[in-house]
Symmetry: C2
Subunit: 320 residues, 2 copies
Amino acid sequence: MPVPDASRPSVVTGGAGAIGSVVVRALLGRGHEVRVIDNLSGGRRERLPSGPGAPRLALTVADLREPSAWAEAFRGAGEVWHLAANPDIRLGTRDPRIDLDHGTVATFHVLEAARRFDVPRILYASSSVVYGLPDVFPTPESYGPLLPQSQYGASKLAAEGLCSAFAHSYGLRAFVFRFSNIIGPGMNHGVIFDFVAKLRGDPSRLEVLGDGRQAKSYVWVDDCVAAMLLAGDRADAPVNLYNIGNDDRTSVREIAERVVRALGGRARVEYTGGARGWAGDIPVQLLATERIRGLGWAPSLTSSQAVDRAIEVVIAETRR
Amino acid sequence: MPVPDASRPSVVTGGAGAIGSVVVRALLGRGHEVRVIDNLSGGRRERLPSGPGAPRLALTVADLREPSAWAEAFRGAGEVWHLAANPDIRLGTRDPRIDLDHGTVATFHVLEAARRFDVPRILYASSSVVYGLPDVFPTPESYGPLLPQSQYGASKLAAEGLCSAFAHSYGLRAFVFRFSNIIGPGMNHGVIFDFVAKLRGDPSRLEVLGDGRQAKSYVWVDDCVAAMLLAGDRADAPVNLYNIGNDDRTSVREIAERVVRALGGRARVEYTGGARGWAGDIPVQLLATERIRGLGWAPSLTSSQAVDRAIEVVIAETRR
């Protein structure tokens, strides 16, 4: 009986984030009481449903590095969705301690709290960056060796290992999702957000880091959350590992051109050159998705469609 | 020119341990100045060469969790051999914080010290436990997914990821070795040590956890250190990943019978049953070693021979 028990509360770390807040709404829609833990560094209180319609939602504003401030939220919970992390891969290169503390150590604390309060399931948002620079495309979940290029990638790999160890040592069920690029409302970083912000600053030109040929698969946030819910309903191994990606890719060059067009089409696009946008960037990414599709997942938007919608949304959200 | 520069000191963490002390002797033999950092929890001062013959060896007794106590040892060093870890996998199941602190976080501090003092190379002792329960034998370095069964395994995987991230972000060269079971003088844990200790306590019977069919590949410590030195001399990628194992396996049953025979042959062997000796144990292990053999490595002892020699050594070392 793998289907989660809606009579028990769900904990969502990072629940005020762009992905987390979609998870929160989905869980409330399924009848769960939801307890969000968020330090509001990237998360925003306004993303959470409020008012008389949201009586079954509680927010604990706390840093995951301090379990005493939030662990009580795990009491009686049926599952924890662990989505909190440093969202900016580039930040970790400047200060490698950020991903260790907010990724690896924070995940350890989350798992320890789950163990302490007998929370039987964890759903963890990992990332395709654990694959490093793979030489197989589309990249399957069984790909190895896993040699991450960034501190962020190292923290995602470390957290996957912790989920696995806790699952095998203490009987917890772990669901580990390796995300491609998840896009949707409320983004405040990433290539689409950056391009729109740059053009708002200088509408005459758009500087693009790299040669623009970096091509990745983008997934609309609702499709991503649907995949996680589906796996949580249907899979029941000690560790359930799923790539989440689209089967088409969108290049940085295409994104740049579409953003320019959407903002009036007058800007000149300039490429700084080189295969990578920045140290630690993964220039090419395409995930094998047979596993999650085998459960019945069918995304509503392709990568190309998701990018178009995200451009519209970012433009609308950043309009003054 | 990948060969390490013998004119620069080598740092060895865990250098007073059973493997570390063999590394230290090998490096002294190559003309290196050697700086050992060891908290002497498992390590022993007596294992290090002493007296007038060892002027080029310095020991810092310190815990890796406190970088201020040892980081100066990295100044001017040409490489760091990072061997320190919690050696007892079972301990981590009782207290999962041990492997996080002494494995993952300690490795982070070692890498940060290497970055701070421009130490260009790290040689890291990882383990075959990162493979979890693989379904491919012999298991190649490219095997995935990596789902460790124990906190120890999670910390080894996390440390590998950190080595990779630091190598790709900051230009360090990383050598990552996935050890099978390394045996030799000075062991104070592991199946051979445990069996001898049990029979010293009660010579009439030997209780064996599991069904005795767990079968692993054992490597004599000198062969292991020779493999690491060889890879350090000949490989030069950002991350150089090598399994270290023998091509034959030795079962727990064989080890039990040989230990009984070596101690007089009177004990009755009793099996507790079950495929695993203990939670987190890996019942079957055989590593693909084409990569390290391709560099010219040829171990002097098979697994079976290494086990026989280790039994002799443990019996001699534990004789009253």
